[in-house]
C-alpha cells in the first residue's frame, strides 16, 4: 500500500529578498521535512531574521519560490497565517497591557479559548505576575510571554529568532517543551550558539551576507565550520 508524498514543511528555491538596492537574501534553496528542525547560523546582518520574516509571510520574496506548509508565498499566505508561531526579536506584545491581556487579545485573533491563556501562563511560569503591565516585567519574563503568544494557537511551524535570548537556565528549561525539540513541531531556529544550535538541528543553514554559505545535514557539520561563518 502506498501513500501520496506529503509536501515538505518548507521549500525555498532561489529566494531573493531586497531592501532597496541591497539584497538581504540571495539564492536561498532549501527543503525541510515536517517535524524537523532547521537551525540558521550567521553573523549579524546575514539575513537570518529576513528569512524568518519571509517564511512568516511578513515580508514578500522578491524572486524565487517559497512554499510554507504546502502553500505558496505570497499568493496563498492567508492559508499559512495562523499555522505559524513566530518568536521575533521584539515580543510583539503591548507594553502597557498585562501578559494576560496580551495573550487574551491574541487568543481572540486566533479563535483560541481563553482557558488556554491561563494554562500557558502557568506553563511559562508567569501566572503570579500575569496581571502586571508588561513594561514592569524583566526582559526574561517578557520573553516567556512572547513564547506563550507564539504557541498559543498550537502552530504547526515555529519560527524562532534567538528564542532563548534574555532567558535564565530555569526559563530555558520551562520553555523547552513548548519550543524546543520536545515540542515535536517543525522548527526554524536562528542561533549564534554553535554547540546548542547543532545539538537540536536536523538541518543546518549558514548565511553570510544574505547568501547561503553552508547547507547540510546536522551530522555532517562541525562546530568549527559554524564558527568559520562568523570570521
Amino acid at each position: 500500500m502506498s501513500f501520496p508524498a506529503e509536501p515538505a514543511a518548507l521549500e525555498c528555491t532561489g529566494l531573493v529578498r531586497r531592501y532597496g538596492e541591497r539584497e538581504a537574501l540571495s539564492g536561498v534553496d532549501l527543503t525541510l521535512g515536517r517535524g524537523r528542525t532547521l537551525v540558521v547560523f550567521g553573523p549579524n546582518g546575514a539575513g537570518k531574521t529576513t528569512l524568518l520574516r519571509v517564511l512568516a509571510t511578513l515580508l514578500r520574496p522578491h524572486a524565487g519560490t517559497v512554499r510554507v506548509l504546502g502553500s505558496t508565498i505570497p499568493e496563498e499566505d492567508w492559508a499559512v497565517r495562523g499555522r505559524v508561531g513566530f518568536v521575533a526579536h521584539e515580543p510583539l506584545l503591548y507594553r502597557e497591557l498585562t501578559a494576560r491581556e496580551n495573550l487574551r487579545f491574541h487568543a481572540r485573533l486566533h479563535a483560541v479559548g481563553e482557558e488556554r491563556v491561563g494554562e500557558l501562563l502557568d506553563v511559562v511560569g508567569l501566572a503570579r505576575r500575569a496581571d502586571e503591565p508588561l513594561r514592569t516585567l524583566s526582559r526574561g519574563m517578557v520573553q516567556r510571554a512572547a513564547v506563550a503568544r507564539a504557541v498559543l494557537h498550537e502552530p504547526e511551524l515555529l519560527l524562532l529568532d534567538e528564542p532563548y535570548a534574555n532567558l535564565d537556565p530555569a526559563g530555558i528549561e520551562l520553555l523547552a517543551p513548548l519550543i524546543g525539540a520536545e515540542s515535536e513541531r517543525t522548527r526554524v531556529v536562528c542561533s549564534h550558539d554553535p554547540g546548542g544550535g547543532l545539538g537540536e538541528a536536523d538541518l543546518v543553514l549558514g548565511l553570510r551576507g544574505g547568501r547561503p554559505a553552508l547547507l547540510a545535514e546536522a551530522g555532517a557539520v562541525s562546530a568549527e565550520e559554524i564558527a568559520e561563518l562568523y570570521r
Binding site: 501513500f3 506529503e6 515538505a8 514543511a9 528555491t13 534553496d29 532549501l30 527543503t31 525541510l32 521535512g33 515536517r34 517535524g35 524537523r36 532547521l38 512568516a56 509571510t57 511578513l58 515580508l59 514578500r60 492567508w78 492559508a79 497565517r81 495562523g82 499555522r83 505559524v84 513566530f86 521575533a88 521584539e90 515580543p91 510583539l92 506584545l93 503591548y94 507594553r95 502597557e96 497591557l97 491581556e101 487579545f105 491574541h106 481572540r108 485573533l109 486566533h110 479563535a111 503591565p133 503568544r149 494557537h153 498550537e154 502552530p155 504547526e156 515535536e184 513541531r185 517543525t186 536536523d202 538541518l203 547561503p212 547547507l215 547540510a216 545535514e217
Partner: protein
C-alpha cells in the same frame, strides 16, 4: 551549492495533520471588538491621545478668546473657530493612532493572525471616533463658555448631527492617513501634511452646516445641503479606505 533535502518522518506528518487542523480564524466583528477593546485599554493606561487632544482644544479656545479681543463670537466666525480647533486636535489623535502598533510589534502580531485585515480599519476608525466624541464632550461646552455668544442649548440637536457626520469622515480619513504615515520616518510631519488637505472639505461642510446654528436668532437646523455633502464625503472615503487599507498593511 545544491539544496539539502530533509525527508519527513511519517509519524511527524501524521501528528501534525491530526493535532493541527487548519483554523478558520475569527469573524470580522469579533476581531474588530478584540482590537477595539485593546485600543481603548491601551489608551486608558497611557492617556496619550485624548487628554492631549482635549487640552489642545481648550488652549486654542483660550488663545482665540484673547487674540480676537472680544467677549463672544457667533455665526460663521464661531463655526470656523470651532471646526478648525476640532480638526487640529483630531490630528494629534491621528498621529498617535498607530504608534503603539508600529513601535511594539502589534502590526506583526496582527498580520500573523488568520483574520480579515479590514478589521483593523474598522477598529482604528471606531477608536478615533471614540476619541473625537470624548474630545467634543469637553471642547464644545468649553467653547460655549469661553467664546460663543448665543446659548448653545437650542442648537444642540443640529450640532450633534453635524458633529456625527464630520467625525465619521475624520475617523476614516485619519485612519487611512495614520496607517500610511506610521510606516515612514517622518510620520509626525507626514500625518498632518496628508490629513489637512483631505480634511478641508469636512471643515467647509461642517462649518457651513453649523453656521446657522450659532447665530443669535438661529434657525435650529443645520444646512441640509452641507450635511448631505458631509455624508457623501464620508461614504466616498469609507469606500476608498476599505479598498486601500489592506495594501497599506502589506510589506
Amino acid at each position: 551549492m545544491s539544496a539539502a533535502t530533509d525527508t519527513s518522518p511519517a509519524s511527524a506528518v501524521a501528528r501534525d495533520a491530526g493535532a493541527h487542523p487548519r483554523r478558520e480564524g475569527t469573524g470580522l466583528w469579533t476581531t474588530v471588538r478584540a482590537l477595539l477593546r485593546k485600543e481603548l485599554l491601551v489608551e486608558l493606561r497611557t492617556l496619550e491621545s485624548v487628554p492631549g487632544m482635549s487640552l489642545f482644544a481648550l488652549s486654542t479656545f483660550v488663545v482665540f478668546h484673547f487674540a480676537l479681543n472680544r467677549g463672544s463670537v457667533e455665526g460663521d466666525l464661531a463655526a470656523g473657530i470651532l471646526w478648525v480647533t476640532l480638526l487640529f486636535a483630531a490630528i494629534l489623535g491621528v498621529n498617535r493612532l498607530f504608534v503603539a502598533d508600529a513601535e511594539q510589534g502589534g502590526f506583526d502580531g496582527f498580520l500573523l493572525a488568520p483574520v480579515d485585515r479590514s478589521a483593523m480599519l474598522f477598529a482604528k476608525a471606531l477608536t478615533l471616533l471614540a476619541y473625537l466624541v470624548v474630545l467634543e464632550l469637553i471642547a464644545v461646552p468649553a467653547f460655549s463658555i469661553l467664546l460663543l455668544g448665543p446659548p448653545i442649548g437650542p442648537a444642540l440637536g443640529g450640532l450633534v448631527a453635524t458633529l456625527a457626520l464630520a467625525d465619521i469622515g475624520v475617523a476614516v480619513i485619519g485612519t487611512l492617513v495614520g496607517a500610511l504615515a506610521v510606516q515612514t520616518r517622518a510620520r509626525d510631519l507626514l500625518g498632518p501634511l496628508l490629513a489637512l488637505p483631505l480634511f478641508v472639505p469636512i471643515v467647509i461642510g461642517a462649518a457651513r452646516a453649523t453656521e446657522p446654528l450659532l447665530v443669535g436668532a438661529h434657525t435650529g437646523t443645520p444646512g441640509a445641503r452641507w450635511l448631505a455633502t458631509l455624508g457623501v464625503y464620508d461614504l466616498l472615503f469609507g469606500l476608498i479606505a476599505y479598498a486601500l487599507f489592506d495594501f497599506l498593511l502589506e510589506d
